[in-house]
């Protein structure tokens, strides 16, 4: 469920970066207040443990497949939500950098999807209430199962919303939801079983490890409303954006054009102002969703503006045969140049 950069628009990726960075900063501040200094090595080693535990699989009864620990829930159980969130974020960062598992732009999305929901929703609102009042084996199993399933379902739904809001994938909303949620129901059950098995063992072998945590977990209750509000806002914004993206072919662009009125300005006015607006349009970091509809507008804008030497062609290749051929030819030539550059830079056989 790690999202890749290739499916994320900078607007969505940037927003989720800000949200996740804010959550990390909040957790860091919270930890600084309640920090037992033995938590520093514990968090680091538990992050490494998540990687290591994924080498060992168990067989899933009645199926041919096998599963392993995911991480979010067990970390929350052992460390409390704040420390767990930081550990999950660090695990995802290492995965993005060294395994190409999830991208850098998508890192904010991944931290939110895989960290926020288990640590700040599933653990405090499902696992802890269910586990309260005794640690029966069945009770613990049910708590872990429900918490893991809910955490992963929310995360998977959030993946769908973020992907739809980015507008790069053509998957219809309902198909995507029907694809993601059942898969992650299965993954959630596996994760719940694995978490319950490990927690059950630790409860038998060293029960004090599980009791040591609540000191830092108690702090979350005071901020429940803030966090719920944040989650709601994210869901509402995500939902609204994805609604725009799905009902309007170029919904985001359309909405932004409505707000700023840039599109009209670029086409009509001349002189410096027109050039500035045009330049702004060209360097705009928001994707142009309405490729086909906007094409004519772009061509008109390019031809109507006072012809500078740089105004040789429209910004992106038009659908006409001539430009697409030159696009393909030019693209292949550029690819060739890149390969040449790589060949020139290719490391000679050296010993490292």
């Amino acid at each position: 469920m790690h999202m890749a950069d290739a499916l994320i628009s900078p607007a969505v990726g940037g927003t989720m970066w800000i949200v996740s960075a804010g959550l990390i900063a909040y957790c860091a501040r919270k930890l600084k207040q309640t920090m037992r200094d033995n938590l520093v090595p514990l968090m680091g080693v538990l992050g490494a443990f998540i990687f290591a535990s994924q080498m060992i699989n168990f067989s899933i009864p009645a199926t041919g497949s096998s599963g392993h620990l995911g991480g979010g829930l067990i970390l929350s159980v052992l460390l409390g939500p704040h420390a767990a969130f930081i550990v999950i974020a660090s695990v995802l960062t290492v995965q993005a950098l060294f395994f190409a598992d999830g991208g850098l732009l998508a890192l904010g999305c991944n931290i939110f999807n895989l960290g926020f929901f288990p640590a700040f929703i599933a653990y405090p609102f499902i696992y802890r209430p269910l586990i309260r009042g005794g640690r029966g084996a069945i009770r613990a199993l049910i708590a872990a199962l429900v918490a893991a399933v809910v955490g992963l379902q929310l995360g998977a739904f959030s993946v769908v919303l973020e992907t739809k809001a980015s507008g790069i994938s053509e998957l219809p909303f309902s198909t995507f939801v029907l694809l993601m949620l059942p898969i992650h129901l299965a993954i959630g059950i596996v994760e719940g079983l694995a978490t319950a098995a490990v927690v059950a063992f630790v409860a038998r072998a060293r029960p004090e490890v599980l009791d040591a945590e609540p000191a830092s977990a108690g702090a979350v209750t005071g901020l429940r409303s803030v966090l719920i509000g944040l989650a709601m806002a994210a869901l509402v914004i995500g939902g609204a954006v994805s609604w725009f993206a799905s009902t309007h072919p170029d919904g985001l662009e359309w909405a932004i054009a409505k707000v700023t009125g840039k599109e009209e300005v670029a086409g009509s006015s001349e002189g410096i102002r027109g050039k500035l607006a045009e330049f702004q349009g060209k360097t705009s970091f928001l994707p142009d969703y309405g490729f086909k509809a906007d094409e004519e507008k772009e061509v008109i804008a390019a031809s109507a503006s006072p012809a500078g030497p740089e105004d040789v062609g429209p910004e992106w290749p038009a659908v006409t045969a001539g430009t697409s051929v030159s696009g393909i030819v030019g693209g292949l030539i550029t690819l060739g140049l890149v390969c040449l550059a790589g060949f020139a830079l290719k490391p000679r056989r050296t010993n490292i």
Binding site: N57, A89, D101, G313, L337, A344
Partner: protein, 271 residues
Amino acid sequence: MPIMHLANWIEVGRMDDYSRQDTPLHRLDARVKAVTTLACIVAVMSFPRYEVSALMPFLFYPMALTGMGRIPFGFILKKIIVASPFALAIAIFNPVFDREAAFMIGPVAVSGGWLSFTSIMLRFVLTVWAALALAACTGMFRLCAGLERLGMPRIFAGQLLFLYRYLFVVVDEGARMKRALELRSGAIVPVSLRVYGSLVGHLLLRSMGRSERIHRAMVARGFDGAIKIVREPKFRPADWAFLLGWSAFFVAARAWNIPALIGNLVTGAAP
């Protein structure tokens, strides 16, 4: 989440070796490389969904990092391929749902879906390659120190460094456990849930025990709760040149479709 095989860890170890080389690229400030790489990825992802040819110039950036950083191309290529299934699984639906013809190559009509599919996979290669090349030519320690100076919370920077430091130690422990299991169970590797619980639970308790010992060792050496990170020296002219040069290139490649311009020149097509 892919299952972590031991081979993956040997690969991460190799990546660590590459990041310890000493080339002009490795000597650049980590902040500069991180910001430039992120700028490259954002620029790539800001193109409209049907764009293919204008993305090509951006390949120069990861190619330059890989070449100048003396990182073998085969190593990076393998990692990109291993990481590709998720993007592929989502992108493959574009040709299914978007069948409108976008343009013709001779008699063959290419649908918008295949065009955007190509675009997604090209972007996937670009973004993943850039991120991997950044990690391989910077290394975790310099990267964390740099990001901490860019405003990353100190606790998070410390966490990343700690995680990275003990990754190999704890993974070795897990690998030994797995080997022992395989030797005793006749290669029937997926164990029952109950056995799994005690295996991984043991691994967990051992890890926690290790962290206790680490903590005592740290306290003995004067640890006061805050991790100290060595700060690198100031920006040098080479850092500015790298940052500004590549940024200018990204802006130019984003604003003008350079391959289309070359194509126009070569084919003589009207703009």
